[in-house]
Symmetry: C2
Subunit: 495 residues, 2 copies
């Protein structure tokens, strides 16, 4: 429907972004927040059309898309607000000390924006992780222009969201180049964007193959740039014995819902459940299977995802010593995904890397370990994950410190007695785990701390107060939290 952008068109957009960067980064945090709120308003004003188009393009149900759109607006507002609070600037000041030998200089450090950020949206979140999603909101809050590569699976929705952003650009009198929307179904467009000399950072949400490729390109540039790719995971869940004894049915119901929510199309979908051989585990598997059977197959995001799900599901089921526990009715309609539970033994899982791979969709593998030692062994052999979950009583926790450590080691978010699906948008959120869950476990793509991905510190040495940026001035005109001579404070500095 949309033609791929030409390299000439991309060059124009990137040069405009570079030019806009010099203006935008000097605009106040307040102005940035207002602009972000204005985007939210535009999105809300066009909600009906947006939802209609997204429903058609993604097969996601209307209520889900409505709540995702609200979340997108919430993110824009929240990151803008956090941007304005200015704590993320990490303003750090050491005043001169002429009594020291040798005397020390006045040095003041703060974060400054990196430059134009290229965003690759996710197919499974047409709003919250796409055109005006988390990466875009973080970049705008940081003071960076954004160039979005539209996801071809919802290019029309993306185009509409882009128009909402452009309207906000106009209404707020922002520099025009601050936002550009690029169509491109081909690999070449993506590569050209990542390799472009004006690109300063990349945000991506999607598959391992796609993310890793962008990451490699980013590192192979003459000037390497950070590529923040969130590439999903299987989000292991560890069922501890006492907990399972107490709440077998409750956990089965909870997880049947979590596994099948939005046809399992979440990066935090629990694709692996690990328990210890026992009557209770057998009962759990059987209950989970029954719950799953109640859930009808449903249309997945697009034909490619449905096909990949079918293939990976079947491949997992065909592995040696893997048994299908249950599956809801086999999908009969086009592009449907069939909720499926399989089971295997700990030693089989440990020996077969195929079973460690993500099956993106409503699929989960229950692994039965011969003992706790094997469970720890599995935790130690899993790849990096966005989340890990422990289902445990106090006794379970107290008795298994080695398991807790090993499970914490592999994840960015560590959940107790809950489900991994549902990623709250708040400052304490960590959505980013050890590789291959993401390319940089030191940053998050959800929550306002994600702003810091697109900034770097600059220290000003020996500058007069009047020439310093507001965040570093003696009188603290932005009224932000700073570290002054090793003390956290909002106080002004005596001249």
């Amino acid at each position: 429907m949309y033609k791929d952008a030409t390299t000439e068109e991309i060059n124009i957009a990137m040069e405009a972004a570079w030019k806009a960067f010099h203006e935008y980064r000097n605009m106040s945090l307040k102005t940035r927040a207002e602009f972000m709120r204005a985007i939210g308003t535009e999105l809300q004003d066009n909600a009906d059309e947006l939802i209609k188009t997204a429903t058609r393009e993604t097969n996601l149900p209307e209520p889900r898309l409505l709540s995702e759109l609200s979340r997108t607006v919430f993110q824009l507002n929240q990151y803008g607000e956090a941007g304005e609070r200015g704590k993320w600037l990490e303003a750090t000041i050491d005043t001169a000390n002429i009594d020291k030998k040798p005397p020390t200089h006045d040095i003041r450090k703060m974060l400054v924006p990196l430059g134009p950020v290229v965003v690759f949206g996710a197919s499974n979140f047409p709003f919250a992780y796409s055109t005006a999603g988390g990466d875009t909101a973080c970049a705008f809050a940081a003071g960076c222009p954004v160039i979005v590569k539209a996801h071809p699976a919802h290019a029309e929705t993306s185009e509409m969201v882009a128009n909402a952003i452009l309207k906000a650009v106009e209404k707020c009198k922002m520099p025009k180049g601050i936002f550009a929307h690029i169509h491109g179904a081909s690999v070449e467009v993506g590569k050209f964007l990542v390799m472009h000399p004006r690109t300063s950072a990349v945000g991506f949400t999607g598959s391992f193959g796609g993310g890793k490729q962008l990451f490699d390109w980013g590192n192979q540039r003459k000037v390497p740039i950070p590529v923040f790719a969130e590439m999903g995971s299987i989000n292991p869940v560890f069922l501890l014995p006492e907990k399972l004894k107490q709440s077998c049915e409750e956990i089965a119901k909870m997880y049947a819902a979590s596994i099948t929510q939005s046809v399992g199309q979440f990066c935090t979908n629990p694709g692996l459940i690990i328990g210890i051989e026992s009557k209770e585990l057998q009962e759990f598997v059987s209950l989970l299977g029954k719950e799953i059977q109640k859930i009808a197959p449903a249309k997945m995001l697009h034909a490619g995802i449905a096909k990949a799900f079918g293939e990976k599901r079947n491949n997992a089921l065909q592995q040696k010593n893997v048994t299908m526990v249950s599956s809801s009715d086999i999908a009969t309609k086009e592009n449907e995904g069939t909720p499926t539970i399989a089971t295997t033994k700990g030693e089989t899982f440990l020996a077969n890397p195929v079973l460690h791979q993500e099956v993106f969709g409503p699929f989960s593998l229950v692994v039965s370990c011969k003992d706790l030692g094997e469970m720890v062994e599995i935790a130690r052999n899993l790849e990096g994950q966005l989340t890990s979950t422990i289902m445990a009583t106090d006794n379970d926790l107290t008795g298994n410190p080695a398991l807790l450590e090993s499970v914490k080691d592999i994840c960015g978010r560590f959940i107790l007695n809950g489900v991994p699906t549902g990623v709250e948008v708040c400052l304490s959120m960590q959505h980013g785990g050890p590789f291959p869950a993401t390319t940089d476990s030191r940053f998050t793509s959800v929550g306002a701390d994600g702003i810091k991905r697109f900034a770097r510190p600059v220290a000003f040495q020996n500058w007069e107060n009047k020439f310093l940026p507001d965040a570093l001035k003696n009188e603290n005109p932005l009224n932000i939290w700073r570290v002054v001579n090793n003390e956290v404070t909002k106080d002004r500095i005596q001249d």
Copy 2:
């Protein structure tokens, strides 16, 4: 003198580090700080021998090495203290809110150490950026074991420092594997260390060639790891007209000293000075030349560095339209470096990338621009730098906003009316600039914020207070600054 470590020896050290990591990371921040102070004490107790050996190995004068050793001890103490203050943990808490729709979870995030860190020391700082230097101190403060690859140019000093660390390990009853010292003059040892599956991060200070190679290896691993390489820069200095008119002689003297300090062997050495064609600039060049002539050639760190300096200096001097202004007596003794000033025009500099390269040693190129526009053009065409300096009056600053922006864009530390040499060890320091100055401009290798290079956030969702790490407990037993429900506070949280 020392044999290269075998892969077997390295494997043993790495496995021991991995084991020690599990113990060390759970030790209190206070214990870590005490251990770091104990290292400092050991170093001081062995100062005489250390200085003697380092003087012989590096040709650096005793007073310089004495002050470097003090700085090293100061770093260990300061980073340990900052570690203990716990602000670097970035503890961030959002308490559950059951009134929200849907209700929100209790989520608490903090930084946790990455794992074993491999440190490659610098030849020009046998103490402060080597075996017990900044990278090692940051890693220990973060809770990570350290494996040092000794610099072959001062392997004996390195061995002695390593012994001091091992003595502190023993005295403080630290897990043994927390520190290992590996000799290796070959590329293979370095590669094996970076590629080792137990290695979680790398710190490096040295040449572009070496650092970039480690960075590439780190990214080519099955599980990529962060490689923090500080690869030097030419630290441009911009002389603005009014300032030069007022303080020509003073600046010439200041810079002659800065260019030749420690035979110019600093990563912050000012290798490029940019002014605008004028009588004053001519006078400055002539004065700087005269000052330089007063400084006798001196022995450089080792034969390889002296040879490289000679070659790069001569290569720069042989470029078309580059004129030698002055040079102190030509070095006659082995391994000496001759202080040298050359000059060229702005257009020559812009057109010749050879002149943008670092000449590590006492060399500086003065570029004469035809006007301010050309000066801005040069700022925009320079590669990433550790530092940039502006010499300017208030009028100079007020009149040239575009220059200030462009100069800030290329550096990590932005100095007004000073010299770039001398990197203060304080929290506000940024020692890390856009590539190729360092591989990751978002982090510093000097100052306690360098600790954060070796840590990543983990969010704990829905954990009971008693099972949380101390940093995240309601009662704030560590008494650290935290962000609780978006407010910066040391207050305890009501149960």
